[in-house]
Point group: C2
């Protein structure tokens, strides 16, 4: 696709159709990608014996595919091969303090993806996927660290979820209180939240090496 | 229970049994509570038509019960009444940058709870639960804001998940690299992460009111 081609929107289906607060929802792929690229952790839902399981996982994105990984013995991942999963990535942006308890809320950006997770067997795709997972943590990091060797690759299960069926939901506005409450003597407003990093702490085994950590600009999302 | 009574641990079952990296896991209730009390968002898993759904939700804790809430018309919540849910709460503590791509990781604290979500019909319990959800955002906030009126209570569905079956998983240590990699000229260490708040931004409709936001110490977790 040429760079002038608008990306295909996420697919609206019965399970991605936005029902509650539909005004907060969209199927915009660029918006979905921006959320996926900013976060560190996905919450991945599986069904085991008919009951739900939700686990936090690292992930990486390459174009229109999202990749998960884990040890080949990981029971949850193994159970997800060719099974339906739900991958949800959420960023918290603000606490919303209203005059009424009822209108308290949070500002957030959230992507929910659905689909069949496919096992990645191709060695090149597997390497690229694992690089993406490392680069999700710090951009460019995969080209600095020792690459995975064949043994490590064999020990790793990689799943691909095509980013097709999904939706985005964003609350990004201020306090909404009832007209009757506007004059109440209760402070109302937003408390912005952001995930920040503190200065890197070097492995003591490396003390005196002169090696330097990734520059701060690479740690800002 | 007297304060000297140790809290009952979380229940180990087939689905909470820790398999991978079991050394990171525990069933310690105090640890679970500390994680639940520090976070803002839970990722709640449901099964609909046999497939998993995962949505971010606010929540509150009172003792050994966790509460979720939403509009009475919320299809996902309605479908969860007396159904199995999985509630996962995750805190990210650090990026773990190893010398090898393979040993990159994240430090985190995570609680995974399972059980049947029960609809709360008792008005007093419902009010207490909604207060807990507001106080989860800012401690003590429920006593400052206008309490919910009967109409708002009727419009709200509250679910209780007893905190019984679940587990905690924590990665809280430094970089672990292979012995052969220790001399590689690749910076290794932790990049601590923390969710921080910025100064509150008052609702413009309240400008000049002289009302003051919650003090900074109430916004620190």
């Amino acid at each position: 696709m040429g760079s002038m081609t608008a990306p295909a929107p996420l697919l609206e289906t019965d399970r991605t159709k936005l029902r509650r607060a539909a005004g907060r929802g969209s199927f915009d792929r660029d918006l979905a990608n921006s959320i996926l690229d900013e976060a560190y952790i996905a919450h991945v839902g599986f069904v085991v014996d008919g009951t739900p399981r939700v686990l936090p996982m690292a992930y990486g994105r390459i174009g229109e595919d999202l990749y998960l990984h884990g040890a080949v013995g990981n029971a949850m991942l193994k159970a997800s091969i060719s099974a339906q999963v739900c991958v949800t990535v959420t960023l918290l942006d603000a606490l919303v303090l209203a005059r009424s308890a009822f209108h308290h809320s949070m500002n957030y950006r959230c992507v929910v993806l659905y689909g069949e997770a496919l096992r990645v067997d191709d060695a090149d795709e597997k390497r690229a996927a694992l690089d993406a997972v490392v680069d999700q943590v710090v951009p460019g990091r995969s080209s600095e660290a020792r690459p995975s060797n064949d043994q490590e690759l064999r020990a790793t299960l990689v799943l691909r979820l095509p980013i097709v069926e999904g939706s985005v939901k964003v609350r990004g506005h201020g306090v909404v209180d009832d007209p009757d409450d506007m004059e109440l003597p209760v402070w109302a407003g937003l408390v912005p939240t952001v995930l920040t990093t503190s200065p890197p702490v070097q492995d003591e085994a490396q003390a005196g090496s002169g090696l330097t950590p990734p520059s701060p600009d690479r740690l800002v999302r």
